[in-house]
């Protein structure tokens, strides 16, 4: 009857159980008896897994059943945990910063004068369910070839705000006296590089900038998230 059913499979266990039930009548008188019975029925078909240094127990059918149950639970649990895992990992799939273009006004506003023009822009960070708005200052400068560039006012040394000094015709950092030329080139002081130039574009004659932060204290310009 059980010859073609693999040992340990659910069908086999049910067969085993029904056989042991039949042997002792449909319902056991007491579970102690039940155990004895099962042991007999188990050993009578030559199971080797009954060896036990404690009290003997009906382990084969139960153990295999529990193994299948465990596997089933792992399977079903794995299936059910898919939404939980996706839910927990959701923030990893989202970009922290919304890098978008900020309008600075018509390009003509900046073409007339050679002096760097300060503009304050609002940048937005998406922080989970919050949108955090902060103000950043940028300078619009005219380069030698008459094109416009936008410089971040954050000093590449330690992040203090540099300020245009009209008398000295240079950008000065108030913290450690870093000095930069009108086009942002490093002149003197501790900063490791020129003022950071931001990405710009001109749409319908209006200058737009994409604000980004860069790592301070390093020679190269590395974008911070």
């Amino acid at each position: 009857m059980r010859g073609d059913v693999p040992r340990g499979s659910p069908e086999r266990i049910i067969i085993q159980y029904s056989e042991s039930m039949m042997q002792k009548g449909t319902v056991a008188q007491h579970h102690k008896d039940d155990r004895e019975d099962q042991k007999t029925s188990g050993s009578s078909v030559g199971h080797t897994t009954h060896v036990d240094d404690n009290e003997s127990r009906p382990v084969t059918g139960r153990r295999a059943f529990l193994a299948w149950l465990g596997l089933g639970t792992v399977g079903v649990g794995g299936f059910l945990s898919v939404p939980l895992v996706r839910f927990a990992l959701d923030p990893l799939t989202r970009a922290a910063t919304e890098t978008s273009w900020t309008d600075l006004g018509p390009t003509s506003d900046f073409m007339e004068t050679g002096i760097p023009q300060k503009r304050t822009i609002n940048i937005t960070n998406i922080d989970g369910w919050r949108k955090v708005v902060s103000e950043k200052a940028v300078y619009v400068v005219k380069k030698a070839d008459n094109s416009l560039a936008v410089l971040s006012s954050s000093c590449p040394h330690l992040g203090c705000s540099v300020k245009w000094n009209d008398d000295g015709k240079q950008f000065k950092c108030p913290c450690h006296n870093g000095a930069f030329a009108a086009d942002g080139k490093l002149l003197s002081g501790p900063p490791p590089r020129n003022l950071d130039e931001l990405e710009t574009r001109v749409t319908d004659g209006r200058l737009q900038v994409k604000y980004q932060s860069f790592r301070p204290l390093v020679k190269s310009k590395e974008v911070l998230a």
Partner: protein
């Protein structure tokens, strides 16, 4: 036979005959489980868990108790995950739930699973309780088991009540306002209880914090304790068996819990979870617009399982309210608690217990009728129906709108507009690169402290003095003297003093 002997034996077998691979595997499992059992006592534990005798044998009728355990497990898991995004504050609660519902992957699904799970909990609990009552399973040796179950029932109702407020949408807010008002009707201490629940006389963010703590810490801790106690008492008293079984000394032949009852329980749990999963997936629960306490039109309607009570209370207004709210429910609760002591007869068959069965039927049908009547009245009153339809429309509109994050700015961006002097001062603040270290809005950075509230630290003259001539500590932190005209200094201090 010792473990070593087995291993030796097996090894000998392997050496002597090639087909012993199976035997070796078997012995290995045995060896591992044997070792695990020595360390953990896992065999005795599984024996204890699985060999529970069930008088009269396994039955589908017995699946509800373990079904409740599975739902509880699901509620715990989904609840913990929801708490990853939820913030219990009147400012943010609604936004965070909106975020979960509209933005987070699988968020609507998990929230629905938790919400539908609460309904499943109440339904299954009512079946479990009703069955215990109707089949006389509370009788005989099971008095304390019955009472611990009643306490668990009250706790689950408390979980449903406290959890309902947490999304902080219109219906949550107003349903809880009604619920706490009902508590206020209790004689003598009603107002005090109401204030205790609300954290003040009015509903507000403190109410939400309290409900959150009750829902997430207090009641769950009690539920864990009482579920443990309930299961222990159940095993101690033993399974009740069929209605033909004696309630004091079970006599019928027993069948072990394992395997048939285990399988039945698992099948039932699978059906519940599959139903909840399908419901959550195809019909996720919605979220209404954020609570607006000044809305005087809103008609609160509780969750469906509270509707009979809601309707019941309509009959007890004014002076008589105390009878409907305290006296009658109190009497019913007290009767339920003392039931196993009042009813010591061994008879369990419902048709031989006319008083018990009849009162059960009356209360059950009464609740069904009240629930139906509540819905019917809402439909037949045109004004009410119109308002409820309007509310449903608002909810639908809110659900279809895109998620709006909460906008947070630095203080200056969100604060009231500055005075003309302070506006000039802000420009001076920026022109002198004060913002470089103190931040664009003087909120402070890693290079300099925040200046918000600086006027509390220095009065007007002191402020000018430290600006013109910073202290040594300030100089050490790279603060330079502020070199501006007296007029500019007036504006600058006006700006600094406006920072509160």
């Amino acid at each position: 036979m010792s473990q070593n002997t087995i291993t030796e034996l097996v090894e000998t077998q392997v050496q002597t005959n090639g087909k012993s691979r199976k035997a070796m595997n078997g012995a290995k499992v045995n060896g591992f489980i044997g070792w695990l059992d020595k360390r953990t006592g896992i065999r005795a534990l599984s024996h204890e868990a699985l060999d529970e005798p069930i008088p009269g044998g396994a039955r589908w009728a017995y699946v509800f108790g373990s079904g409740l355990l599975y739902i509880l497990l699901s509620q715990i898991i989904t609840g913990v995950f929801l708490a990853m995004y939820y913030v219990a504050s009147a400012d943010h609660a609604h936004t965070t739930i909106e975020y979960i519902t509209k933005q987070v992957t699988a968020g609507a699904f998990l929230r629905s699973l938790h919400s539908y799970g609460s309904s499943a909990m109440v339904v299954t609990l009512l079946v479990h309780l009703g069955q215990t009552y109707f089949f006389g399973s509370y009788k005989g040796r099971r008095e304390i088991l019955w009472m611990s179950g009643l306490i668990l029932f009250a706790m689950v109702i408390g979980m449903a009540f406290t959890g309902y407020l947490l999304p902080w949408d219109q219906k949550a807010y107003f349903a809880t306002a009604v619920g706490t008002n009902i508590a206020g009707e209790v004689p003598f201490i009603g107002d005090w209880i109401k204030s205790l629940m609300r954290g003040g006389t009015e509903m507000g963010t403190l109410t939400l914090s309290r409900f959150f703590v009750a829902h997430v810490f207090l009641i769950p801790a009690c539920i864990f304790a009482f579920v443990g106690m309930h299961i222990y008492l159940f095993r101690k008293a033993g399974s009740a068996g069929p209605i033909s079984e004696d309630s004091f000394e079970p006599k019928q032949k027993t069948e072990q819990f394992f395997p048939r009852q285990v399988i039945m329980d698992l099948v039932f749990a699978t059906i519940i979870m599959a139903t909840l999963g399908l419901l959550s997936y195809f019909s996720p629960v919605d979220l209404g617009p954020k609570a607006n306490p000044s809305d005087t039109q809103f008609l609160p309607r509780p969750e469906w399982y509270y509707l009979p009570i809601f309707q019941w209370l309509k009959y007890w207004q004014g002076e008589t309210a105390v009878i409907g709210i305290v006296v009658i429910p109190g009497i019913i609760a007290a009767l339920l608690v003392v039931l196993p002591f009042m009813d010591r007869r061994r008879e369990r068959r419902p048709w031989k217990r006319p008083v018990a069965s009849f009162s059960f039927a009356i209360i059950f049908l009464g609740l069904v009728f009240l629930g139906w009547q509540s819905g019917d009245q809402d439909k037949s009153d045109p004004a009410v129906a119109k308002q409820l339809a309007k509310q449903a429309g608002e909810t639908e509109k809110f659900m279809s709108a895109a998620f709006q994050p909460e906008v947070m700015g630095s203080p200056a961006l969100t604060a009231a507009p500055l005075s003309p002097e302070a506006t000039k001062g802000k420009k001076i603040f920026a022109d002198n690169s004060c913002d470089g270290c103190h931040g664009e809005s003087a909120q402070g950075t890693e290079n300099g402290p925040k200046l918000i509230g600086v006027s509390l630290k220095f009065d007007h003259n002191e402020l000018i003095k430290v600006l013109r001539n910073p202290t040594q500590k300030m100089r050490d932190g790279n603060m330079d003297p502020v070199e501006v005209s007296d007029e500019e200094m007036t504006y600058l201090t006006a700006f600094l003093e406006s920072l509160k």
